[in-house]
């Protein structure tokens, strides 16, 4: 048996095949991108254990994830915040964990996307299950999983074909995602998947891909998904979620924590729909009244209220930088944050 020959043939063809595969996808405008997965999130969550009163945590859903740019925030305040926001998720499970399982007494900026924040307390519902599974993973992750992630980062940073995101984006190019794209007949209703329109760094500084701004057909694929989500989402459950959030907020504030709520911009059908389903007076104003916490609503500021989200829900990188810089200035002016550079 000439196994050496077989090994040489296998390695040669295998490596040539991978180079061809990588080149093909790069020719289709794909670029290496990190997966914003549970391990990346857990690495940020681990930073809280050593955080001081000067540190700032960002919690919430995808809007604060996209709209607060860490570099700009750091440039204004002298502090690089820890990004713990999770796309498509209620912030309540993460906030609850931080309040009850850590002694953190610094600043938490909690992004309020009303339809998610006040969506549900039901553990199996997606807005709850997604963040809770990340919290659970933080506590349960094994040393092997940590090492796997460390080893995978240089590969994800350099190879396009390493794109199997746990979010199951329809434009991922791992084998399972490619097979998922094949549809024959109409035996079951068509499932609508989201395309990946974000770029992420190791500390989860997240920004919108430029083609979301420049390529209208790509933007349409994102808004199609939002339309689908609006159609299938159950109505929010305001009273119990408000009570849950207010209780945790009071606990955090009472122990000396600095809590700031933030409402990031939305546009188009999202803006109208949100205002209709959860009017500002009954949710946002009520939240601030019950918690006595400081809050920033984009509609209250001239420089923000006309910002346009290309796909209705998140700011482009350029606008996100502007939003972050201006917001940080306002917060410092209000003494909600201190500028560590000057202090």
């Amino acid at each position: 048996m000439k196994l050496k020959t077989s090994l040489i043939v296998a390695l040669s063809i295998g490596i040539i095949g991978l180079i061809a595969w990588e080149s093909y996808w790069r020719s289709q405008d794909y670029e290496p991108n990190l997966n914003d997965d549970k391990e990346l999130w857990a690495n940020q969550r681990a930073k809280v254990n050593n955080a001081s009163e000067q540190d700032i945590l960002l919690l919430g859903s995808s809007r604060i994830l996209f709209d607060i740019q860490l570099n700009e925030f750091e440039a204004e305040t002298g502090i690089r915040p820890v990004q713990l926001a999770i796309a498509g998720a209620s912030p309540l499970p993460v906030f609850h964990d931080l309040v009850h399982n850590t002694g953190f007494k610094g600043t938490i900026i909690l992004g309020v996307t009303t339809v998610l924040t006040f969506s549900t307390l039901y553990p199996k519902a997606m807005p709850w299950d997604r963040p809770q599974s990340k919290v659970d993973h933080f506590y349960n992750r094994t040393y092997a999983q940590r090492l796997n992630h460390k080893l995978s980062l240089p590969l994800q940073n350099n190879f396009v074909f390493m794109s199997a995101d746990e979010e199951l984006y329809i434009d991922d190019i791992d084998l399972k995602s490619l097979l998922r794209r094949i549809e024959i007949g109409e035996r079951v209703p068509e499932t609508v998947y989201l395309v990946n329109f974000q770029n992420t760094t190791e500390d989860r500084n997240t920004s919108m891909l430029n083609k979301t701004v420049t390529d209208s057909s790509f933007t349409r694929r994102v808004t199609n998904f939002w339309e689908f989500v609006m159609k299938v989402s159950p109505p929010p459950d305001v009273a119990p979620t408000m009570e849950y959030l207010v209780n945790d907020a009071k606990d955090f504030i009472n122990r000396g924590g600095n809590l700031v709520f933030l409402r990031c911009p939305s546009s188009g059908p999202f803006r109208g729909g949100e205002a209709q389903i959860l009017p500002r007076e009954t949710v946002w104003d009520e939240l601030l009244r019950q918690t006595n916490a400081k809050g920033y609503h984009y509609e209250d500021y001239d420089q923000f209220k006309n910002l346009v989200c290309p796909e209705w829900s998140h700011l482009s990188l350029k606008d996100a930088k502007f939003f972050t810089t201006e917001l940080a200035k306002i917060m410092i002016e209000d003494n909600v944050l201190t500028n560590q550079k000057t202090n």
């Binding site: 196994l3 050496k4 043939v9 390695l11 295998g14 095949g17 796997n148």
Partner: protein, 471 residues
């Protein structure tokens, strides 16, 4: 640590580099392998390595005492001590909550109001495998079938050898410990063949099980709905393929990795889905467990030495306990019971309705066997009787008004994969991969290998745990 992970790739490269470097003599190489095995296990949950140490210490001591002790009572004491510790670990860690639940149910059913908090005990990975392996050592020493290990290091390595530590094959002492006595080094051909087996194992796990079949099986068994008959059947055969590729994949990886170190592990699967009957299935599926159950449970229970009735009782008890070995739930016991029933029916058929198996009726018989085995997988996968009954009803009443959860593409994909799996098992049932590879041109073998390597890389996988780790 999982074979299908980057950390394992790095781990294996370091272990192989140290193993084949000239800085260690054989004893130090074995020490390195032992340490590496503890690291391999500890990367999952370090404190649970203590259980391995206790199991190792107890069985090493018991084995040595059994070898020199002549007093029968004292010999029994050492055997029972080993059984108590090993089965005690299993009972506590694996069956603790199950026993508590059933106790609560029992006392409630006789009118006593009693509630208990679940203990939520963590299940140590692979505990069923290494406890069975160490128990076989003590029992064989008690029966004077083997001599105790020459050194503690050899024994500790036998208990902990990382390629087969968490999911088998369950190797007997006589087959593995003796290999540690003399220096082992893989030949170039053995090393490359081991690498080839590792590739095949990873292909089975990452591509076939996780990429092509797992989602369909999960969608069907997790739907919580009364399903259309086609969906129920497709979900069931998807799981049938998934569990084969997952477990056989692990065993193939284990055998390949050990071979790269020059250590030979026994086959654990021999194309089981082409079995002509259920007794043959158990000679081809998870061979190391079925032979363990036969030698240490079925034969001590009487086997076929005390008449037909006693044999049937022994058979059904063995299969029920074999089911329970897989998991702490009544559904696993039913799975084992069904296999026991199949074996009894097969023995009755052979006695009262014998027929000759030809090449013409063989494939038909294999298909019938495969179909009956698929039915048992429903109970294995469902975990709850409600789900299992719902599936069985859908499969046999062929409910046309049941809910459809699978796309046409999913149905075609799973049917194609399982049809190819069955045909491959049929074609390979009287041969082996080694024999086929000998008849294959090295270029063709290389191309097949390259295709598997390429598909593993583009499938990526997300380090899904092997199903059998939980057993």
């Amino acid at each position: 640590m999982l074979f299908n992970s980057l950390s394992f790739v790095a781990f294996l490269i370091v272990v192989l580099a140290l193993y084949y470097s000239k800085i260690f003599n054989w004893t130090n190489k074995k020490r390195m392998l032992l340490l590496a095995s503890y690291v391999f296990y500890g990367m999952w949950n370090p404190p649970l390595v203590v259980l391995l140490w206790i199991s190792t210490m107890v069985d090493w001591t018991a084995g040595n005492k059994l070898a020199i002790e002549e007093n029968q009572k004292k010999r029994k004491f050492w055997l029972l001590l080993s059984m108590f510790v090993n089965l005690g670990f299993l009972a506590f860690f694996k069956y603790g909550d199950f026993l508590l639940e059933n106790f609560v149910f029992l006392v409630n059913s006789i009118g006593i109001d009693f509630q208990a908090q679940p203990m939520n005990i963590i299940l140590p990975m692979g505990i069923s495998f290494y406890t069975f392996q160490t128990m076989s050592y003590t029992i064989d020493t008690y029966k004077r079938k083997i001599k105790p290990a020459k050194t503690f290091l050899d024994f500790a390595l036998y208990v902990t050898f990382f390629p087969q530590l968490v999911a088998g094959p369950i190797v007997r002492a006589k087959d593995l410990i003796t290999q540690f006595y003399d220096e082992k080094k893989a030949t170039a051909n053995q090393f490359i063949w081991g690498l080839f087996l590792l590739t095949i194992g990873l292909f089975q796990k990452v591509v076939m099980a996780d990429t092509l079949l797992a989602d369909t099986s999960d969608a069907v068994f997790g739907s919580g709905k009364l399903l259309h008959g086609i969906d129920a059947w497709i979900g069931t055969i998807a799981f049938s393929g998934q569990i084969f590729f997952d477990f056989a994949g692990y065993s193939t990886c284990a055998i390949g990795i050990a071979l790269m170190l020059g250590i030979i592990l026994p086959d654990n699967f021999k194309y089981p889905y082409a079995s002509l009957g259920f007794s043959e299935f158990w000679k081809r599926w998870h061979i190391s467990l079925s032979s363990w159950l036969k030698d240490y449970l079925y034969i001590p229970l009487g086997g076929n030495r005390f008449g037909i009735t006693r044999m049937y009782v022994a058979l059904i008890l063995t299969m029920l306990l074999g089911g329970l070995w897989h998991g702490a739930a009544w559904t696993f016991i039913v799975w084992g019971g069904l296999h026991g029933l199949y074996l009894i029916l097969e023995k009755l058929q052979k006695q009262y309705l014998p027929f000759k198996i030809t090449k013409w009726n063989g494939i038909f018989l294999a298909f019938i066997t495969f179909s009956c085995i698929n039915i048992t997988w429903v109970f294995f996968r469902a975990r709850e009787f409600n789900t299992a009954w719902s599936m069985i009803k859908s499969m046999f009443y062929v409910q046309m008004d049941g809910e459809k959860v699978l796309s046409l593409f999913d149905i075609i994909k799973v049917s194609t994969v399982i049809a190819i799996l069955f045909i491959c098992h049929w074609l390979m049932r009287n041969t082996s991969m080694k024999e086929v590879s000998l008849k294959t041109s090295p270029w063709v073998l290389g191309i097949v290998w390259a295709i598997m390597f390429f598909i593993i890389c583009i499938a990526q996988g997300n380090g899904e745990q092997f199903i059998y780790f939980q057993f």
